[in-house]
């Protein structure tokens, strides 16, 4: 009896992949541990091993096929005279049920494109657009800035030979060589300090943290060394550095690997804090960040890396730091959000529109300095506001927005401002608990209805 070989999930966030290469052909005998195929995920190329002995039957998916969903049957293997026991297939991941994994619940498909983006649209009319993933956009931003300025270099764990733990630095080593794309040991405090010192010495480092959770080891240099020294030196000690990497909850990686640090860094004068959502902003803002004479904390999101958006095909596309963007116009209520929250807010807005509530969605893009004017201007029109943030609720960016509204927008308000954040608990591992802890569209919709008294 034939056993189905299914497309394995090779990372917590993988939903599909490319079947890069078959290393067997029908009729080949394989034993446990033999490499059957190479599968390219959004992060890396992985070898797919056999776990059973048998003879390869049919190859159901051709070599080079992209977008093969996790759980798809890619080949069959005959059970070598043995009765076919349903065995787990994917050696690297050992996922219990590969198909509709909880991954999908935590990473909804990209929401509909923005209805209108009137504010801060710095793209000239008629510019051609290229569909680009956020991951590629970030890489392109670094590559363009490295081509333009020899002082720019990239340093971090696995950024060079591994091609980036999340593949963001893919191809940089090949183009720029080991002088400018530098693998570090696992030593965040040390390399954050070395990067900061290099910036003080006149270079323009881009320091990648594999995730911002690990930057906790390095936060002393980000805050005490990078953010404060210009002030303490009366303006002598410049520190043009970018600290970047994924931030916020990924998918079922537990509490230590799932935290949004935007409020932490945004509380520190002397830092710029950026958290883009789509690919165009990721590219344009990272380019601006690298050129900034100030230290920048650039917060990405792993769950968004693989999403595809339009990016203007311009030679030098930059987005100004400190300017929010209206992602969707609406007259009834303003949803203020950033990073992955933008996707949730847009999805909620679509559903609310079907119920006759037109929500305006504002993507803050830069958390510090905060574009208060954009928030207040929208509030002046809608008179109602909900803040959506994938992060803890206490002392959050949402708290800050609400404070700004109390101080400077109180007279515009027709209802209290509500925040929709994660639950106030460390992020749990269990799929159901994680889902309960994280912000979602339903909670956004419910909060919007509440402030609209509907």
């Amino acid at each position: 009896m034939a056993i189905d070989l299914k497309m394995p999930a090779l990372s917590p966030t993988m939903e599909e992949g490319t079947l890069a290469k078959w290393l067997v052909k029908p009729g080949d005998t394989v034993k446990s541990g033999d490499i059957i195929a190479e599968i390219e995920t959004d992060k890396a190329t992985m070898e797919f091993e056999a776990v059973d002995e048998g003879v390869i039957g049919e190859l159901k998916v051709a070599e080079g096929t992209e977008g093969v969903k996790v759980g798809t049957v890619i080949a069959t293997i005959s059970g070598d005279d043995e009765p076919a026991a349903p065995a787990p297939v994917a050696a690297p991941a050992q996922a219990p049920a590969p198909a509709p994994a909880p991954v999908v619940a935590a990473a909804p498909p990209p929401p509909p494109a923005p209805v209108a983006a009137p504010a801060a649209a710095s793209v000239p009319a008629g510019a051609a657009m290229v569909a680009t993933t956020v991951r590629e956009a970030l890489r392109d931003a670094m590559a363009e800035e490295m081509r333009a300025d020899d002082r720019v270099f990239v340093m971090g764990e696995e950024v060079a030979e591994y091609q980036g733990a999340y593949k963001v630095t893919q191809g940089l080593l090949e183009e720029f060589g080991p002088r400018r794309v530098i693998d570090t040991p696992i030593t965040e405090y040390g390399f954050a300090g070395i990067g900061t010192g290099a910036a003080m010495g006149g270079l323009r480092p881009v320091i990648e943290f594999m995730t911002f959770n690990f930057a906790m080891q390095a936060i002393d240099h980000i805050i005490n060394s990078a953010a404060k020294t210009n002030y303490m030196s009366g303006g002598q000690m410049r520190c043009p550095i970018v600290f970047r990497g994924p931030n916020g909850a990924a998918s079922r990686v537990g509490a230590q690997h799932s935290q949004n640090y935007a409020p932490w860094y945004a509380s520190v004068p002397g830092l710029i804090v950026i958290a883009p959502y789509d690919a165009a902003d990721a590219k344009g803002l990272l380019k601006s960040a690298i050129r900034s004479p100030d230290p920048v904390v650039f917060l990405e999101n792993e769950l968004v890396y693989g999403r595809t958006f339009d990016v203007p095909a311009l030679d030098d596309y930059t987005v100004p730091i400190g300017k929010a963007r209206t992602m969707r116009a609406g007259r009834d209520v303003t949803i203020v959000t950033y990073s992955i929250g933008v996707g949730l807010a847009l999805e909620a807005a679509e559903k609310l529109a079907a119920e006759g509530i037109e929500a305006e969605v504002i993507d803050l893009r830069t958390i510090r300095p905060l574009d208060k004017a954009a928030v207040l201007e929208s509030l002046a029109r809608t008179n109602r506001m909900v803040v959506v943030e994938e992060g803890f609720p206490v002392c959050s960016v949402a708290s800050e927005i609400i404070s700004v509204v109390m101080e400077e927008g109180f007279d515009y308000l027709d209802a209290p401002v509500l925040r929709v954040c994660n639950e106030d608990v460390p992020l749990p591992y269990a799929a159901n608990l994680e889902k309960l802890a994280l912000v979602d569209t339903a909670r956004v919709i419910s909060a919007v209805k509440k402030v609209c008294y509907r």
């Binding site: 060079a160 693998d183 040390g190 010192g197 010495g201 005490n224 210009n230 303490m232 009366g234």
Partner: protein, 370 residues
């Protein structure tokens, strides 16, 4: 596939030309790893052969640091200097001897919070240093840094850092920039025996050795990490050995003799400038005053301090050297007088300069406008 980003250094530094009489390196080191070669080179020529003029200059710089620090102590007592204030009295030969071997404006320097002496040794105007101590707008950091946070990028002096040990990776970053640009510069990163126990120091040793960064790590071992004697806080009290695990050669240097310091600096710098990677120097010195102005110094005896002052003082030592060379007592007195004058002027300037304008509160937070 791409090449390895950082091929490990397999070539050993060329052995220094040691006289035939010198014993062979200890057998526990593999033949290619010259961990102690620099110490031997230093031992073979312990004191720098300074001209009278040079030694007079070293003497003047050391006296300037001492008189300046004494004055800072007085101003602190009068309430004119606030916050933390860490004096360099007793350690003068370290900064003066090491700085004298650097190429000014080419090599970079970074240190911790006990930074006044280093700045003076670099020739930075005592007026703007003292005015920073009194928190005046004319201070080198416009009154916004204070004792622990002073910088002069013109002199390639990069601070002045208040977090114990932070200057070590920052210094490696400066060294990284020298290597990246290929400008031939070296970074000298000073830290204390207390900072030598910080984890980030060893993260930095690893990367500096791995990437062969042009950096001299200088442990100023003054015997006490605040109030904790070295032997109470350090399992390995010979700090020059602490690079061993990273293949960084160490040097054990008498930090109370400016000529020994200078001679050792030349050995270290020659090694680093030749592209061999970092050196770890331990400068054994002594701080006569407390850790900071608020230190009651209950952790050591008066006799211990007096013994150092009476028998190991770097300024008195240099003075005796000068007299032995036949430099006149009058010439030395003239320097003392000149220094007292300069320090008095710095103090007057620092007391009479206005405080920063209130608008300075909001400047220099960010460089760009957004």
């Amino acid at each position: 596939m791409a090449q390895p980003a950082k091929p490990r250094a397999t070539k050993a530094p060329k052995p220094k030309a040691a006289p035939a009489a010198a014993p062979a390196p200890a057998l526990e080191d593999e033949a290619t790893f010259a961990l102690r070669s620099l110490q031997q080179t230093h031992a073979n020529n312990k004191r720098y052969d300074a001209s009278d003029e040079e030694l007079l200059h070293f003497y003047e710089q050391m006296v300037l640091i001492r008189r300046f620090e004494e004055k800072a102590g007085q101003l602190y007592g009068l309430g004119l200097i606030g916050g933390f204030c860490h004096l360099y009295i007793g350690q003068e030969a370290v900064a003066v001897g090491l700085q004298s071997a650097l190429k000014e404006g080419h090599d970079s320097v970074i240190t911790g919070y006990r930074d006044h002496g280093h700045m003076l040794a670099y020739g930075i105007d005592p007026k703007v240093i003292m005015a920073e101590l009194t928190g005046r707008g004319a201070g080198i950091s416009r009154g916004k840094g204070g004792s622990m946070h002073m910088f002069s990028t013109d002199h390639k002096f990069y601070g002045g850092h208040g977090i114990v040990g932070a200057q070590v990776p920052l210094g490696a970053g400066l060294a990284f920039a020298h290597k990246y640009r290929g400008d031939g510069g070296v970074c000298m990163a000073y830290f204390g025996d207390g900072a030598a126990n910080q984890g980030q120091v060893y993260e930095t040793f690893n990367m500096a050795a791995l990437w062969q960064l042009p950096i001299v790590f200088v442990v100023e071992n003054n015997g006490y990490a605040m109030g904790t004697a070295v032997k109470r806080g350090s399992a390995e009290t010979h700090f020059h050995r602490r690079g061993t695990g990273f293949r960084i050669p160490g040097m054990d240097v008498n930090g109370m003799d400016v000529l020994e310091v200078r001679a050792a600096a030349e050995v270290a710098l020659e090694y680093v400038r030749a592209g061999n990677g970092p050196v770890l120097m331990e400068l054994n010195t002594y701080r006569y005053r407390g850790h900071s102005m608020s230190d009651p110094a209950k952790y050591r005896s008066r006799e211990e301090v007096q013994e150092m002052r009476d028998h190991h003082d770097p300024i008195e030592g240099a003075k005796q050297d000068l007299l032995r060379r036949g430099v006149s007592e009058d010439a030395i007195k003239a320097i003392d007088k000149k220094v007292r004058q300069a320090v008095a002027e710095a103090a007057d300037f620092a007391e009479s300069s206005p405080e920063p304008a209130p608008a300075e509160l909001y400047t220099d937070v960010l460089v760009g406008t957004y």
